[in-house]
């Protein structure tokens, strides 16, 4: 489906140095890592201004990554603009949004890039196999590694 087709792939892999730089993954690698989080059934990176899934992998609620992305964007925008949590203290930026349902966990982690972007890493976890604390820590690491120099 379109979800896999729009996934970018990394082209530079022939130089020997790249093996030593395994810790700075590309977008695709980041999503693969996200799928190794215990209980993960789907993951995506969403542009929350437009509600567009920039990259996706695995399953999505109702098998529709685009609908999931626009829902994700609405939640992030609501938290960012229509609530007071993110503006209580100066420079207090939104980090995570966690939504729990009877069947699963939905974790959103804002990816802070230095250049202008509004991106969020979204991972959907199975409720029985997922562990909220572990997943949150791993997503924090992934989001940091994606953009850390």
């Amino acid at each position: 489906m379109a979800g896999t087709a729009m996934r970018p792939y990394v082209t530079s892999r022939e130089d020997p140095e790249s093996t030593s730089r395994r810790e700075v993954p590309g977008v695709d690698h980041c999503l693969q890592e996200a799928m190794t989080i215990p209980g993960a059934v789907g993951a995506s990176i969403v542009d929350y201004t437009t509600g567009f899934p920039v990259a996706t992998t695995g399953a999505a609620p109702n098998a529709d990554h685009e609908a999931a992305a626009s829902g994700t964007a609405e939640v992030v925008q609501a938290a960012n603009s229509r609530s007071l949590f993110v503006s209580a203290i100066p420079h207090d930026l939104l980090e995570d949004l966690i939504i729990t349902t009877a069947g699963g966990y939905h974790l959103l982690r804002v990816v802070h890039t230095e250049f202008d972007s509004r991106l969020v890493l979204y991972v959907w976890l199975d409720r029985v196999r997922g562990n909220l604390a572990v997943a949150r820590r791993q997503m924090q690491r992934l989001a940091d590694e994606l953009v850390a120099s």
């Binding site: 792939y9 082209t11 530079s12 977008v27 250049f115 202008d116 991106l119």
Partner: protein
């Protein structure tokens, strides 16, 4: 160079993608742009209305201008500027991919929604950035259409996207809440800069800029662009004569009446104004009180004599940036 004309850019893009071609779809018009395809998939897009990867990375301070220029010098001829930046350790692969993805969708929106466009396909043309991401063309086309609809859901006035932005002088309500990007836009909007100018100046995505501007229009915080009859689509705009600047033809106050603002506390208003002192060059009987009020400036008579409209500062800066971008694109 096989060139295909008079086709909608979107249709032509879908066609060349179906044939798995490699090249550049160049869209003429305003704002216009180009979409680069590699074996039928989109690898990059650029448009004057959307900051490119270089602008995004340098204006945010993520890369020094020198670093970016170095990568351009080294990698342009072999079309591997993006790869070089990662190999030299200036960017992570993730940052580069996210930046290219964002810039590509952003520019594709402007290139493919250009009003009355011309479309040419230049086979075998590649972009100096090199293939960093490969995006399904259908996904790009669908996303562009979705973004058009998103804007109209906010506030259906496409003139806001292209016309110079003027904040309203007085907000329509007592209490106003704006996001940080809205704040940035409001304080940099001066009645001269277009949304594209603001996006380039601030290093913000072009689509995010017009999205926030439509929201500001919906809130009543920016002026709605009026419909002008003589619409000139020129990219370089001459500074307009601004109403608040000193008008060259100043209407003389009605004779015999006191000035509206009590400037000189002197004789009672029933008396005629005092005659100008001899030898100062002031001829009109009404000139003296007004000039006396402006004394610290002391340059008004010259301004009144020369009818030059004030040259605006911001347009130079934006124009220079555009020229720089265009020169880089020629490399």
């Amino acid at each position: 160079m096989a060139a295909t004309k008079t086709t909608a850019p979107g249709e032509l893009l879908a066609q060349v993608a179906g044939e798995r071609q490699t090249g550049a779809l160049v869209v003429g018009g305003h704002p216009g742009g180009a979409v680069y395809v590699f074996e039928g998939r989109v690898i990059y897009a650029e448009s004057p209305a959307a900051p490119g990867v270089g602008e995004l990375l340098t204006s945010s301070g993520r890369l020094a201008g020198r670093t970016w220029q170095n990568a351009l010098d080294l990698g342009t001829s072999t079309a591997r500027v993006g790869r070089l930046l990662v190999e030299q350790g200036h960017l992570t692969q993730g940052e580069l991919e996210l930046c290219v993805l964002g810039a590509t969708y952003d520019a594709a929106y402007f290139a493919l929604t250009t009003a009355s466009p011309t479309a040419d396909f230049l086979p075998a043309a590649t972009h100096w950035l090199g293939p960093v991401v490969h995006i399904d063309t259908v996904a790009v086309l669908r996303e562009v259409q979705r973004r058009v609809k998103l804007l109209d859901d906010i506030f259906p006035n496409p003139r806001i996207d292209t016309h110079p932005v003027s904040p309203v002088a007085r907000p329509p309500r007592e209490r106003v809440t704006v996001t940080s990007l809205q704040w940035e836009l409001l304080i940099h909007a001066d009645g001269q800069r277009t949304p594209a100018d603001l996006a380039l100046l601030l290093g913000r995505a072009g689509y995010a800029t017009i999205q926030e501007l439509r929201r500001l229009a919906a809130l009543g915080l920016i002026e709605l662009p009026g419909v002008r009859t003589s619409e000139s689509p020129d990219f370089v705009r001459l500074p307009q004569h601004r109403a608040e600047a000193a008008p060259a033809a100043r209407p003389a106050p009605p004779a015999g009446e006191p000035p509206a603002v009590p400037v000189i506390s002197g004789p009672p208003p029933s008396l005629p104004p005092p005659a100008p002192p001899p030898g100062e060059g002031n001829t009109g009987p009404n000139r003296l009180p007004r000039l006396a009020r402006r004394k610290p400036g002391a340059k008004l008579p010259k301004e009144l004599a020369t009818e030059n409209p004030p040259v605006h500062q911001g347009t130079d800066e934006v124009l220079l940036k555009r020229i720089r971008t265009a020169l880089r694109a020629l490399r």
